[in-house]
């Protein structure tokens, strides 16, 4: 393809995301309007806000998943390490190999073995791995996802045979096996029990050493625990576009929010 976006990760700067005046549409409906923000590399950024304010839409614009919905499109500019993501000439497949995603409901390939689930991204990129390199990659990714101990003896079992929390960690292992620059997580714990949730939060704290992590969450406690920066989105009412209201470091955001709408939202949550 005409793009250079598959470059090996060279510096931390390659993991910075710049979002400039992004609007997103579903057909004629504007779901998100005029979002500008810089997402810092190797840090955890949380998106919070009421249902329907466009958090998922923003997230899915970053790896160009948004455009896979019929009639959906994005305007504005998103760059990853200075390279345009939304440029029509850029292959979305290449973008997605640099920007991994974890979904709300765990979605491992159910009949594929645990091992193959971890390797699937690397194989999609057409990279040939020797048997021992593949073994190493599987172990490394599963360790990074805190899943190695429970599954090391059952790597050939299907991904669908794990518990929900384990499946979600398998999805994280699958996403990081390709060594992406960015990891997007859309409410990764909302289908999980508190213990699995704690395990994943701990994992996110480790992931931020290597990856730029963007997480959508409805759990204010979680946002406070895991994130370095928080972005609050809101929407005025049905049919209105979602907007970014306030974006700052998490501690300040939760202790001294500047915008009254943020203060109301946070207060309402804890009130």
């Amino acid at each position: 393809m005409t793009t250079t976006i598959i470059s090996e990760r060279t510096s931390i700067a390659a993991q910075r995301i710049e979002i400039a005046d992004v609007s997103a549409y579903y057909g004629s409906f504007t779901a998100l309007s005029g979002v500008s923000m810089t997402i810092e590399p190797r840090a955890v950024t949380a998106f919070i806000g009421p249902s329907g304010c466009g958090k998922s839409t923003m997230l899915r614009a970053i790896n160009r998943m948004h455009e896979t919905i019929p009639g959906a499109r994005v305007e504005g500019s998103i760059t990853l390490g200075g390279e345009s993501v939304l440029d029509r000439r850029v292959d979305p497949v290449a973008v997605r190999s640099r920007v991994g995603m974890v979904f709300q409901r765990p979605n491992p390939f159910p009949t594929m073995s645990i091992r193959d689930n971890v390797l699937v991204g690397v194989r999609l990129q057409g990279r040939r791995l020797s048997r021992s390199d593949a073994d190493d990659l599987v172990e490394m990714s599963l360790r990074a996802a805190n899943l190695w101990e429970p599954v090391k003896a059952i790597l050939s079992k299907p991904g669908g045979s794990l518990s929900g929390g384990q499946q979600q960690r398998l999805c994280i292992a699958r996403a990081i096996a390709v060594k992406p620059d960015v990891l997007l997580m859309d409410e990764p714990c909302s289908a999980l029990d508190p213990i699995s949730t704690a395990a994943i939060e701990e994992l996110i704290a480790n992931l931020r050493r290597d990856y730029t992590v963007v997480i959508v969450t409805h759990n204010m406690g979680q946002a406070q625990r895991v994130s370095d920066a928080t972005a609050f989105f809101t929407v005025d009412g049905a049919g209105q576009p979602g907007r970014l209201v306030e974006y700052r470091d998490t501690t300040t955001m939760f202790s001294r929010p500047v915008d009254p709408r943020t203060a109301d939202y946070l207060a309402g949550r804890f009130g």
Binding site: A94, S97, F109, P110, T111, V120
Partner: protein, 320 residues
């Protein structure tokens, strides 16, 4: 659910709730009764057919004379016919399976929605065309059309065992019969597969897309594994139709009694069980009737085995 809810609300709706419960009881027991009855009817019918085929065909199994085609035993008659049935159906399945999956993928993944809807109903109509029509078309249009290509195939690729031998001048070979069969099987299998493919969970598709899959890789990772058991049951439905098909085969195929041969282009071809029964029944009497019924039992057994095998293969691997 609604019953439990109305039970908990101590309010005037109580009476309404309890009458609703009575009505729903009625449907509960009623529907269970219907289900049990339907299941019973199916099993009885199946058992009845088996008993009929066994009892009525019994004398033929030990008979040494009076059999159709002056066969020396029923086995000598049934063997080549069973072979013909399986062989013709197998060729037809080899042609049908990839085409059906391709058509189904095109309709579910690639075609614009409107095109898919029109083509989908065309496929469904094709599935409903009576087999005599396919038989006529196969005999009068397809067979003459294929005679030329068959001659070419046997000249150029005669070294390949299936294409060896003198090619038929009329084109009425087992390959033509299999092609006609596969045209009849394709709509069935394609619509079963399409149904399953379109139901692939969005979450699985997105898992594949988010990992950087091309559309074909989405199919490979999400759609085909999800549709696996549907593809297998589609094959079985199609095979069932092919094994039992009489008219189309009887009309198209120029068969040689008692022949077992893998050559698909020659003018001498094995007959199929179903076509043989249909062709001979009108003239049959006495032991011959028994023999034809015994052949029916053989066909029944073949179908049964095919289905049992398919069930084993199709059984989904353990999932959470």
């Amino acid at each position: 659910m609604t019953i439990a809810f109305s039970d908990m609300t101590a309010s005037p709706t109580r009476t309404l709730g309890s009458s609703g419960r009575r009505v729903s009881r009625f449907f509960e027991t009623g529907s269970r009764g219907v289900a049990v009855a339907a299941g019973g009817v199916v099993i009885l019918a199946l058992g009845g057919v088996t008993v009929f085929l066994t009892v009525q065909g019994w004398p033929a199994w030990t008979a040494a004379s009076g059999l159709p085609q002056n066969a020396s035993s029923l086995w000598a008659l049934a063997g080549p016919l069973a072979f013909g049935s399986v062989w013709a159906s197998a060729i037809a399945l080899v042609l049908t399976a990839p085409i059906s999956v391709g058509v189904a993928l095109f309709l579910s993944e690639y075609a614009p929605r409107r095109v898919a809807r029109v083509l989908g109903s065309v496929v469904d109509v094709l599935a409903a065309v009576p087999s005599v029509v396919f038989g006529l078309w196969g005999l009068m249009v397809l067979a003459p059309m294929l005679a030329g290509p068959y001659a070419w195939l046997s000249a150029k690729m005669g070294w390949f065992p299936l294409f060896s031998g003198q090619s038929s001048a009329t084109g009425r070979t087992i390959l033509t019969a299999a092609i006609v069969l596969s045209i009849m099987m394709t709509p069935i299998m394609a619509s079963v597969c399409r149904e399953a493919f379109t139901q692939t969970p969005q979450a699985l598709r997105e898992a594949a897309i988010a990992l950087g899959s091309t559309p074909w890789e989405v199919i490979r990772l999400a759609v085909l594994p999800y549709g696996r058991s549907a593809m297998i049951s589609g094959c079985m439905l199609a095979l069932g139709r092919a094994l039992g098909e009489t008219m189309a085969v009887a009309m198209v195929l120029s068969a040689t009694p008692g022949l077992v041969s893998l050559q698909v282009l020659t003018s001498s071809n094995p007959n199929t069980t179903a076509a043989f029964i249909a062709q001979n029944f009108p003239e049959a009497h006495g032991m011959q009737v028994s023999a034809l019924i015994a052949l029916g039992l053989v066909l029944f057994a073949i179908t049964f085995v095919v289905n049992a095998v398919a069930r084993r293969v199709a059984r989904p691997r353990k999932e959470a």
